[in-house]
Amino acid sequence: MTAITRAEVAHLATLARLDLTETELDHYAQQLDVILQSVARVSEIASADIPATSHPLPLENVFRDDIARPCLDRAEVLAAAPAHEDDRFRVPRILDEELS
């Protein structure tokens, strides 16, 4: 496995929506590298003939019937919102200024 670069860490932070500081970027670049070196050992025994397991249980076909049921109280839902207006959640503008 190749070492993780600071630029990669910055890209990951963008993907994960984390506005990391310069110090954090340095710190995580170094730490992630150490952790990845360690965990990368999994590929040593993960040969092609071994199936991947995503669920610890062998369950299949779990469904619910198509029946509508009562919903949450809107006032209670909106009360938890950082901002709301006209019975909707208010969120900051979608586009960056330089792009609009």
């Binding site: 994960a16 929506r17 360690s38 025994i45 071994i50 991947a52 397991t53």
Partner: protein, 501 residues
């Protein structure tokens, strides 16, 4: 047995429930005694993030009313409980140990809380934890660490350190934990208490704020094996709101705890987790426990699980991957913290500022790790390989359980370490989970129970029992037998030796 005049906080849940049923003590008295204890010690222990005093007393009084009106009370009715702050409870703060959810009051109850309420258990409040259950010490809680009642300078384990500390500090006789890689069992081990991670799918996850969906499991915590079994039987069982919930009868764990018999059982020591390299006192108490089990009539067999050495690597890929996705929703749009919404920032910037401010260092570290492991180009090497290791670990378990009924190991490599000792060394911190992780990857059931103090530091040592999926009763059969033998040896439960605070 009479408990009149005794300290109500020193009793087991079973004894308290019986006293409430017979009217020897009221649920209100029992609850008040625990609230008083919290008032007097929690400033030092910091097990609780939120104590729901009024609601707890009110639900206790309603139990007393039910009793006086002749209603038949459930097996744990009126008994107080400490709830890990990762389970939703309508109208009660649910922070997951994070600034992100500092003021969030969920509009719904988790399945576990519904069942606790239905069983008339009195929920005292919400307990401290590592932020979003990421950690082994509670040092990653945004609200400061909990302290181990055996030594307040030390960690109570994690992530469910608050629940374990509440039990060990006699603030509650029952607690709920969640276990993704050992977060019930390791805190139990370092606090001298009992904790069980049920079979994956055994206790519904609906309302459990997800860390890693394919690993998370809520479970019972208490100071005795029987109390743990009683709580287990209340919270376990199918719930159609959790698609991964098992639609089958819950194994009779209470009967198993009552039976407490290992005669003829085959107990396997895992070669890869046999105590080598562990702290001397941990290895010693482990070996002594094996001798007791053998003396009680069990056959001790050593079995190899060669893939276990890759479990830690697989776990620290699968967990961060799932967590990076599960924690994406904390973006400051619908609930919780929002930072930077001053009109000058776009939604993307506000999300990034919010997550930067709302998450602590460990959470960010794991989100980054998971984002990396799932990225195109790395998926097969990391996440894909980790899922294959998971298959191999399940195969190791399956083959081991062909020759033994349960597997055993020390729960954690060391006793409680000092607060601050490992905080800057994530890899060292991750190694705490080396013995507990394989069970989460495979979905098995496991228990930790106290088996003595390490001679070198006088701190509790945990013994782990692992059973095949849906054979949770075997944990109680073995755990109760061992607990009973140790009780006979010491003349009391180990927890009685904990400092009075």
């Amino acid at each position: 047995m009479t408990i009149m005049g005794s300290d109500l906080t020193r009793q087991t849940a079973a004894v308290l429930a019986e006293a409430i049923r017979t009217g020897e003590a009221s649920a209100a008295e029992v609850t008040q005694a625990h609230l008083d204890r919290i008032s007097s010690v929690d400033e030092r222990v910091h097990a609780f993030l939120h104590v729901d005093t009024e609601a707890a007393l009110e639900s206790a009084r309603s139990v007393d009313t039910k009793r006086s009106s002749g209603e038949v009370l459930g097996p744990l009715a009126g008994v107080p409980l400490a709830l890990k702050d990762v389970l939703t409870m309508r109208g009660v703060p649910t922070t997951c140990g994070s600034r992100m959810l500092e003021n969030w009051r969920p509009p719904y109850d988790s399945s576990v809380v519904e069942r606790l309420r239905a069983a008339d258990i009195v929920i005292l409040g919400k307990t401290n934890m590592d932020e979003f259950a990421m950690g082994s010490s509670t040092e990653h809680s945004a609200y400061g660490p909990s302290h181990n009642p055996w030594d307040l300078e030390r960690i109570p384990g994690g992530s469910g350190g608050g629940s374990a500390a509440a039990l060990a500090a006699f603030e509650a006789p029952l607690a709920i934990g969640t276990d993704t890689g050992g977060s019930i069992r390791q805190p139990a081990a370092v606090t001298g208490t009992v904790g069980v991670k049920p079979t994956y799918g055994g206790v519904p996850r609906y309302g459990l704020v997800a860390l890693a969906s394919s690993l998370d499991q809520a479970g019972p915590c208490a100071r005795t094996v029987m109390d743990t079994a009683l709580l287990h039987s209340i919270i376990a069982g199918y719930d159609p709101r959790d698609s991964t919930s098992i639609n089958a009868p819950v194994p009779d764990v209470v009967a198993a705890a009552a039976k407490a018999d290992v005669r003829g059982m085959r107990i396997g020591i895992v070669t890869e987790l046999n105590g080598e390299g562990y702290q001397a006192g941990v290895a010693q108490r482990f070996r002594e426990s094996l001798a007791i089990l053998e003396h009680l009539g069990a056959e001790i067999i050593e079995v190899g699980c060669p893939s276990f050495e890759y479990a830690l690597g697989a776990y620290y890929l699968i967990l961060p991957s799932e967590a990076s996705s599960n924690l994406a929703r904390f973006d400051g749009m619908r609930y919780g913290l929002r930072v930077g919404d001053d009109g000058s920032h776009s939604v993307e910037q506000v999300m990034s500022l919010t997550r930067e401010a709302g998450f602590g260092a460990e959470v960010k570290r794991r989100i980054m790790l998971g984002t990396y492991a799932l990225s195109s180009g790395y998926y097969d090497a990391y996440y894909g390989s980790a899922q294959k290791v998971r298959t191999l670990i399940m195969r190791d378990f399956a083959s081991a359980f062909e020759s033994v009924d349960v597997l055993v190991s020390p729960t954690a490599p060391t006793t409680a370490f000092k607060i601050g000792e490992k905080i800057d060394d994530p890899l060292a911190m991750y190694l705490n989970d080396i013995a507990t992780i394989p069970v989460n990857l495979a979905g098995n059931a496991a228990m930790s129970l106290p088996v003595g103090l390490a001679p070198e530091d006088g701190l509790p040592v945990g013994f782990q029992i692992m059973a095949p999926p849906m054979a949770d009763d075997r944990l109680y059969l073995v755990g109760a037998a061992l607990e009973s033998a140790l009780y006979d040896q010491w003349g009391h439960l180990l927890i009685e030796e904990a400092p009075a605070l």
